[in-house]
Every structure is written in C-alpha cells, then in structure tokens.
C-alpha cells in the first residue's frame, strides 16, 4: 500500500532563516505530488505541484521554492523565511481518483 512521509513534524524557525521540508511517497511510482499550505483557521492553498522528476509548477508567487530530485521525493525550500510563512504544510499525492495527504509539518516562524 502507498504511504506518505513528511518531516519534520514540527519546526520553529527565526525570521530570515532557511527552510527545507521533505515529503517521500512509498509504494507508488511517478505520482503527481503537491505542496499545500494551511494558515491557522483557514482552508488549503496549493503552492506547488509536480507531474514528474524535475517538473515543478508554482501556483503562488512567494519566497518558497520546490524541487523533485527523485520520483518519490518532493522538497519545499526557502532561503529566508518570513513571518507569513507560518502554517501547516501538507504534501499530497494522487492515486486513481483520490488525492491523499501526508501527516503535515507545522511551521512557526518567529
């Protein structure tokens, strides 16, 4: 069966520091992968999606970037975090007709 891992689970970072969040999917090949962000008490906003290795599409202009160095690995990065980057970051993949979400990373920028 397919599983999705995200780490770290929680992160507290100072403003201006770099960021790297990792998402790994097991049990599937060539999945479509997605990064979403959920601000406190809000809905989900799509940040990036990828249909294959090295293929990244950005939905929202911001100081974040994404990379897909391997088929089942999706990384979200920033060179300098802003206060507004705080939130719950969710990685997702699509299997057949359903989109499944990972456990998420809760990021607090101080």
């Amino acid at each position: 069966s397919q599983t999705i891992h995200q780490w770290p689970a929680t992160l507290v970072q100072p403003v201006g520091s770099p960021l790297s969040l990792e998402c790994t999917v097991e049990g599937t090949s060539n999945p479509n992968l997605y990064w979403y962000r959920q601000a406190a008490g809000r809905g989900l906003q799509l940040l990036f999606y990828s249909v294959g290795i090295g293929q990244i599409s950005s939905e929202v202009p911001q100081n974040l970037s994404a990379s897909r160095p391997q088929d089942r690995q999706f990384i979200l990065s920033s060179k300098k975090l802003l206060l507004s980057d705080s939130g719950f970051y969710l990685c997702a993949w699509t299997e057949q007709e359903t989109q499944y979400f990972g456990p998420g990373t809760r990021l607090l920028v101080l």
Binding site: G43, E97, Q99
Partner: protein
Amino acid sequence: ELKVEQNPLFLSMQEGKNYTIYCNYSTTSDRLYWYRQDPGKSLESLFVLLSNGAVKQEGRLMASLDTKARLSTLHITAAVHDLSATYFCAVHGSSNTGKLIFGQGTTLQVKP
C-alpha cells in the same frame, strides 16, 4: 478563476439532529472531494464524486453532486459527537494536473 464556497462556515448542533453543508463552485469540474480534518491533524478523504447525480454514503454522512447547479451537499444524519471536525470540499482545478481548489471549510461542533 475557479472558486469554491462552503456554507455555513461554522455549525453547532445537538446530537441526534440532521443538517446539511453546502459547497458551491464557480466553473465546471469533473470531480468533487470531501475531506475531514480533526484539530491539529491532516486531511482524511471522505468521498470522491465523479459524475452528475452521484451519491455516496458512509455511516451518518452522505454526499451528493449536482454538476449542473455546481453544487455538492454533505448531509449529516443523527449527528454524534465523534463527527465534530472541520469538513472541506475541494474541486479539481485541472484534470491534467489534479490540483485541487478548496473551500474555506465548515467547522462542525456536535454537542451532547
């Protein structure tokens, strides 16, 4: 631009009562999703609705889709406390990429 709107955004109800959450979307889409989110947790898939008139049921929850009206409903029957959570609907923003556009979420509080 595809927009998804849910109402109500907050719902407090007594156990045993019935209620419906509505999800409207602005342009045509080939599928609609319902998710549940418990506080501090990720999203759990509840239903995927693929065609006009589709109806799916799981326990006390039933979801339906009317693509002509661009409307989906999530009906709660005889609510119990365990159903307290935030419910999101989401629509396919693009069938090629699978990206989803989410509603704002409906927070359901079921009181004993």
